[in-house]
Each structure stands twice: as C-alpha cells, then as structure tokens.
C-alpha cells in the first residue's frame, strides 16, 4: 500500500489489486497510513489456479479496476 500512497502523492491515480485474504490487512494499513487508497479484491486463492481461471478473475475484476482509476468516488 505504500506504493499506492506514494504514487497518489505524486498526483497519479492508482489502484491495487489483491486477493480477498487482504481485505482486513489493507484496511488496517489504510488506517495506519491515514489514507484510503483505491483497492479491488479478487477471490482467493491465486497460486493454484490455472491460467484460464486467472484470466477469468481478470475479466470479472476489470470494470472495478477501470472505475477505480477513472471515476472520482469515495470508495
């Protein structure tokens, strides 16, 4: 999350994508950093998925990802 905070501090919109395992950790990091960076979560697990399954995760997440870097929102 430091990367996002630093890039955003330079005025460049950023989103980071993580597996659902990261939801709580990301919230805690966000609080500690005093920031609320854009983040998109994909279902866990990642490591043992096939290439097709990973591509399917990308297809499912792409709208949220694009929205996070193109629309002004509180979320």
């Amino acid at each position: 999350m430091h990367d996002t905070v630093n890039v955003e501090a330079a005025g460049v919109p950023m989103v980071f994508v993580a597996s659902a395992e990261f939801v709580d950790a990301a919230d805690a990091q966000a609080r500690a950093l005093g920031a609320d960076p854009a983040r998109v979560f994909v279902p866990h697990p990642i490591q043992d998925r096939t290439d097709d399954e990973l591509r399917a995760l990308a297809d499912a997440a792409i709208d949220a990802i694009v929205s996070a870097i193109t629309s002004q929102s509180d979320n």
Partner: protein, 93 residues
C-alpha cells in the same frame, strides 16, 4: 524508512485520511502503467488485464518490482509517475 508521527486528533473520525489523486475520466488514450509486484502467477492476471485495457483504447506499459517484500524503488516509481497517467498494481495474495 518511512516517517511516523503521533496523531494529534481525537482519533474519533476515520477522516484524517488523505484525499485521493484526482481521477480524470475515461480510459481511452490514457497511458496505463501495469506494475507487477512479482509474486508468482501474477503476470498471467496482468497479461489479461493488459489485453482488456488495450481493447478499451488505453496504451499500456508493463513494470515489475524487484521484490514484493518492499515498496517499489524510488527510480521505478519516478519512471512510472513521469511517463504514465494511471497505475494498476497487482496481484497481492
């Protein structure tokens, strides 16, 4: 080593949060940086994201962090922020 300060507020509101960088609308014509955190399998996900972004009219450049265990090096970050309009970092698990 990042700096740490003690919070001077009542800590009641979540809202000493910094505002996000301004979003400037549609993807078409934008230069997107895809930053791979270099965990295994992440590149497959990012390859597909790149295809989808190009299909939506964006230019895409790929970058990778040397390791997912640390924040991106300053030079890499500078290269990204000075050449690209928006950034997507993936895939943490």
């Amino acid at each position: 080593m990042s700096k740490r300060l003690l919070d001077p507020t009542s800590e009641r509101q979540a809202g000493t949060a910094r505002e996000r960088a301004k979003r400037r609308g549609a993807l078409g014509g934008k230069h997107v940086a895809l930053l791979d955190i270099s965990k295994p399998r992440g590149s497959v996900f990012l390859d597909r994201v790149e295809e989808l972004l190009r299909a939506r009219g964006a230019d895409v450049s790929r970058f990778s962090k040397p390791t997912f265990t640390k924040p991106a090096p300053v030079d890499l970050r500078h290269e990204i922020t000075s050449t690209c309009d928006v950034v997507i970092e993936a895939l943490a698990d």
